[in-house]
């Protein structure tokens, strides 16, 4: 229990990180540092996108699999670490 919170706190306190959230396999957020509506929006959309990316990688090469997903936008970068049961989503503002 404490380990989970500590790990999330470590990630959240990294340079430039705006928000962190953990989403389960159905796209429902479990832990988050952002407000409710934003979290739900990110969770739903990124869950779908991760599934699509995973199936794309598998279709190209069935021996391959998705390990990490990064989306760079004008304002920040969204990083998704996918897994069988969970998704870890981190939003970072990489402005120096």
């Amino acid at each position: 229990m404490a380990e989970v919170e500590e790990t999330l706190k470590r990630i959240q306190s990294h340079k430039g990180v705006i928000g962190t959230m953990v989403v389960n396999a159905e796209g429902i957020p479990i832990r988050t540092t952002l407000d409710n509506s934003t979290t739900v929006q990110y969770a739903g959309l990124l869950h779908q996108l991760t599934m699509k990316a995973k199936s794309t990688v598998r279709d190209i090469d069935p021996q391959n699999d998705l390990t990490f997903l990064r989306i760079r936008s004008k304002k920040h970068e969204i990083m998704v670490a996918p897994d069988k049961e969970y998704l870890l989503i981190v939003i970072q503002n990489p402005c120096e």
């Binding site: 229990m1 380990e3 989970v4 790990t7 999330l8 470590r10 990630i11 990294h14 340079k15 430039g16 990180v17 953990v22 389960n24 429902i28 957020p29 479990i30 832990r31 988050t32 409710n36 509506s37 979290t39 739900v40 390990t67 990490f68 990064r70 760079r72 004008k74 304002k75 970068e77 990083m79 670490a81 897994d83 049961e85 969970y86 870890l88 981190v90 970072q92 990489p94 402005c95 120096e96």
Partner: protein, 579 residues
């Protein structure tokens, strides 16, 4: 075909080709080709005695040919003109020998087209309706105990890779200066539409308010006069154009509502695309439904004790405290009252909350002119609500000083004005004044503390809620400034409408002294009275002027796309608060 017709058509070429026909006649046995080339009488060869026929025919043909050749020589030697009798060319008749003319008639006929008749008729039908509902806010799952070990294991697995990527990202220069253009770049500001209502323009009415509806496709304008000092009985109009319709006629609005008194301000409902509220010169507040052309009036305040006694200069829709999908109308007038109305039952707007501004109750943090004896109302001319705190609003006053007010104020107002609900004093902070009445205020949608105010002194002041002195003061015009609005997409851009007939667009990132773009709306310097940005189609800006025209301007791309660092720059600007 009959042999007779063949004879007639084939007599001509015989003389020209005697040799070939003879050869062919001997060589060929086929029925049809032999007959085609031989003499005219030999129409069709038969089975009986074909070669006998051929030889006879060829002899006849040769005989004919030689006589023909001889006669052909005649005209070439004029000295030997002499009469000659030619031998009779006889071609033996073959008609007895022809046995069994074989003719075949062939005909063809398209087969009759098979047709069938069938009908279809739906026997049963079902009615279905679709209605969008306000989305139910979903929630985050609370932390559950039994998931913890798996969650911990997952985080252990991914933490290292995530931290590594975060570090790499922080130091990466891969995307420096890399920009993607998704939309077509528009370099200049162009006027998309020039809309006007000729009967109103004929009466010399000005456009006093414009508003875009919630879908961004309809623009409505209110006609009235801003320079009337006395009680006016002018009839005026509220016109709406639907810009997405192909049959848009700039001189014929899609909806026209006739109003008994001049309309001073307009505001469309935030979620209902056809409801619009208007504040009148007579102090009334009306709400229309533009989708009902025969009777658009939905609610009105009527002329009760509660109604304003002075022109209503601005109306705003506010969400109700408990039911955030229902809205109330807030009206602001120069009689010093700020009233909140709720539509009830039979078309009546009822007062739910009211505030009154009294000179004595204004906070004394700024030195203002000494108040006269007795209570004096402070006329309010503009209102703007903060996008971050829904109960906080800024009022612009006739005295030139903006006031920070709160809907939750409890102190009773010292006023003798009659009202059905107790009037409260809302002011919490007074900002330092302009040189003249403030005609427009606008709160920044990107920063909770910044707001702009524009007044008759031609200056625009950028205030922070935390201090009384403005952060910057820009002189935009030598005449009055009638409206100022922040851009809904670019944190550092605002637009101002001036009395010199132009709309000035300021980009604080580029230059804080002079406008980035100056749009000349009217040719004869008649003032521009109102302007509004379109929040859905962010490149559109509507401005109404004293000639009664509403011009819809399409802004260049630099005004519609946010750059990467703008919010930080705005924060920096706001942080220049003098301590």
């Amino acid at each position: 075909m009959s042999w007779r017709s063949l004879t007639n058509s084939k007599t001509a070429p015989i003389a020209s080709r005697p040799q070939s026909s003879a050869l062919e006649a001997q060589g060929r046995r086929s029925r049809w080709s032999a007959t085609a080339r031989e003499g005219g009488a030999v129409a069709m060869a038969t089975r009986a005695r074909p070669w006998q026929l051929c030889s006879a025919g060829s002899a006849g043909a040769v005989a004919l040919a030689t006589s023909g050749a001889a006669s052909a020589e005649g005209p070439g030697r004029p000295g030997q003109l002499q009469d000659e009798t030619l031998g009779v060319a006889s071609v033996p008749s073959q008609w007895r020998g022809v046995q069994g003319i074989r003719g075949k008639t062939k005909g063809c006929q398209t087969a009759s087209i098979a047709t069938a008749e069938a009908c279809a008729q739906t026997q049963k039908h079902a009615d279905a309706e679709v209605q969008t509902e306000a989305p139910v806010p979903a929630g985050v799952l609370p932390a559950s105990q039994h998931d913890s070990p798996r969650l911990a294991a997952f985080l252990r697995r991914v933490e290292a890779i995530v931290i590594r990527e975060l570090n790499k990202n922080w130091q990466s220069h891969a995307f420096d200066g890399f920009e993607v253009n998704w939309t077509e770049q528009q370099q200049t500001v162009t006027c998309l539409h020039t809309l006007g209502y000729p009967p109103a323009q004929g009466q010399g009415l000005h456009v006093t308010g414009v508003s875009w509806n919630t879908t961004g496709s309809v623009v409505a304008c209110a006609y009235g006069r801003l320079d009337d000092g006395d009680w006016s009985t002018l009839r005026s109009f509220v016109c709406a154009w639907n810009l997405d319709r192909r049959s848009l006629n700039p001189r014929q609005p899609s909806v026209v509502v006739e109003v008994p008194s001049a309309v001073m301000s307009l505001a469309f409902h935030p979620t209902q695309p056809s409801h619009i509220a208007g504040g009148l010169y007579s102090g009334e507040v009306l709400v229309w439904d533009l989708s009902r052309p025969e009777d658009p009036l939905l609610w009105r305040t009527g002329l009760t004790d509660d109604t304003h006694t002075d022109p209503v200069y601005q109306v705003v829709w506010l969400p109700e405290r408990r039911h955030s999908h229902r809205f109330q109308v807030l009206s602001v007038a120069t009689d010093g009252k700020v009233l909140l109305w709720q539509g009830v039952g039979a078309g009546q707007l009822q007062l739910t909350r009211g505030f009154a501004l009294v000179m004595q109750q204004l906070p004394r943090n700024t030195k203002l002119r000494k108040p006269h004896r007795g209570e004096t109302e402070v006329g309010a001319t503009a209102v703007a609500f903060s996008s971050f705190d829904p109960s906080l609003f800024v009022l612009g006053t006739e005295g030139g000083f903006p006031l920070k007010c709160s809907l939750a104020a409890e102190e009773a107002a010292l006023t003798r004005m009659p009202a059905s609900v107790p009037l409260r004093a809302p002011a919490q902070f007074t900002f330092s004044p302009h040189g003249g009445p403030v005609y427009s205020v606008s709160c920044s949608p990107f920063h909770r503390n910044l707001f702009l105010s524009a007044g008759t002194d031609g200056h625009v002041h950028l205030y922070s809620m935390l201090q009384a002195q403005p952060l910057t003061s820009l002189q935009l015009s030598h005449k009055y400034l009638f409206a100022v609005r922040w851009s809904p997409v670019r944190p550092l851009v605002f637009a101002a409408a001036s009395g010199e007939g132009d709309v000035q667009l300021f980009d604080l990132q580029k230059s804080s002294q002079k406008p980035t773009v100056l749009i000349k709306q009217t040719q004869d310097e008649s003032p521009v009275y109102c302007l509004e940005f379109n929040c859905q189609q962010t490149q559109l800006l509507a401005a109404g002027d004293a000639k009664g025209t509403v011009k819809v301007w399409q802004l260049s791309t630099e005004f519609t796309e946010q750059g990467p660092r703008e919010t930080e720059d705005l924060d920096q600007l706001a942080a220049e608060v003098a301590i």
